[in-house]
Symmetry: C2
Subunit: 282 residues, 2 copies
């Protein structure tokens, strides 16, 4: 599979693009999309083979919209990776720090660089729709009194320069991404990993609202020594105060003890769907 | 305690104000705040005795910012209630439906009335910062070609008129609110409820990242037949891929079996805090 195309949300140079290179190598083609829904639609309509979406960030938490899309679009997860979010101060070539009057970026990125703004009160923060998009805009408008906060990839793509590296307040800032494709392609080209490398499986289920329901569901894994790495709840539409549970655990859906666990969960869950098995990300 | 003051986020006439009346009666005084953080700060600074915040919505899910505030501000939860989110089309007196060219409201409210806009393509949707605030603005600006989408309370407060009741797509749209106060007041004036009425307790904990950790934590409740009503996970700052768990269950912290459950959870949790016991909302 030479040069597959990957859809992601945001402009060229986003952290999603970095995640795509990490998972599929540098020779892919990329398809930037305006919204998360558009990245899934891009696969539905056959414009791209893959889509890649952020699922959680270690500071901000889960990206709930994408959890909802995982259920609505029935694409298997075929890969995961995480990217350290490094916020760089980026300017046009020849612009010096003393010339910067305002800094453009996505509001979340601006909020993750509060120490920098506290040390530089002369610089105005300007919220923009996208991190990489703010570099693109500065380059297009040739703004010489402004900077952007974005990834190193964005600086490279738009021919800009990193003036200050890694100005984020907290370096323990990682985003985890899922790579998805159509069920047909996922069956035709199953993911391979090094022998003995760990796998993860993601699934979603709902339980009747009975005492101890979630405990019984988790027993399915605990009784087989399957290690949960994440659990997330989302409201069940049309059933106020009932929830869908998303679970990630170490193991592969075709291993015997995982198959047994899934059968066991099927006995007691109202709804159950395996979202995919994939090599555990670094 | 006559006429206590309650802080909430949003303009007068918000759904939070409706929740405050439901919990504390019609004779309270209210303190609208710009942000959720400001409602907590209002209690910290002694300007209000109570603050009231939304914690989850049956369509949109949890309000994660407020989960984070529950840990950072150590105020006990002393009450809960839920309010059905009814979106009304509101205009100035004398304005007829055929005169409406645009509708102002919070983007979430606009998105929950898509059927109405599909049936009326001649009407433009205009995102505004607040539902009740859009009624206030229409009244102040005396706009006669515009409507707002907001609560019935907002129409009453700003002297406007409900032209169409309940235009939301999905009536199973409820928001749950927590009422909080300072620990000192909560101790001095403990909440009372009718004898035999059900109580709920909310708590937050973290576990070491060991196999079966969450299963062991939930066993604490299941082994004592304590019924969980909600579980929510949030990232633990500074420990990537570890989580805080928020749990609500039926029972009161000073009942013997609940005390035993809390002691048991204390044995195995890295961190545990009871956020409050309060009468179960209607």
């Amino acid at each position: 599979m030479a040069h597959p195309t990957v859809a992601f949300q945001g402009e060229r140079g986003s952290f999603s693009e970095e995640a795509a290179y990490k998972l599929l190598g540098p020779r892919i083609r990329v398809q930037p999309c305006e919204t998360f829904a558009a990245t899934f639609e891009s696969v539905v309509r056959g414009r791209t083979k893959f889509c890649l979406v952020p699922i959680e960030n270690t500071l901000a938490g889960s990206v709930h919209e994408n959890y909802d899309h995982l259920v609505n679009y029935e694409f298997p997860i075929v890969g995961e990776t995480s990217v350290r979010i490094v916020h760089n101060l980026i300017v046009l070539k020849g612009v010096s720090f003393s010339g910067i009057r305002r800094v453009f970026s996505h509001p979340v990125a601006l909020n993750q660089c509060l120490d920098f703004f506290a040390r530089n009160p002369q610089i105005e923060r300007v919220p923009f729709y996208d991190t990489a998009g703010s570099v693109k805009m500065i380059a297009e408008e040739k703004l010489r009194d402004a900077a952007a906060i974005a990834s190193a990839v964005a600086a490279e793509i738009y021919g800009a320069r990193i003036l200050r590296k890694s100005i984020e307040d907290d370096r323990r800032n990682f985003t985890r991404f899922f790579l998805l494709r159509t069920p047909v392609y996922a069956r035709k080209h199953p993911v391979r990993a090094a022998a003995g490398a760990p796998w993860k499986t993601s699934l979603v289920f709902s339980m009747r609202n009975i005492p101890g329901a979630l405990f019984k569901a988790l027993a399915v894994f605990a009784l087989r020594d399957l290690n949960l790495t994440k659990i997330e709840s989302r409201p069940l539409r049309g059933k106020p105060w009932e929830y869908l549970f998303y679970v990630d655990f170490l193991g592969r859906a075709d291993e015997p003890n995982v198959r047994n666990a899934l059968n066991h969960l099927g006995e007691i869950a109202d709804f159950l769907r395996v979202l995919g098995s994939y090599p555990k990300g670094a």
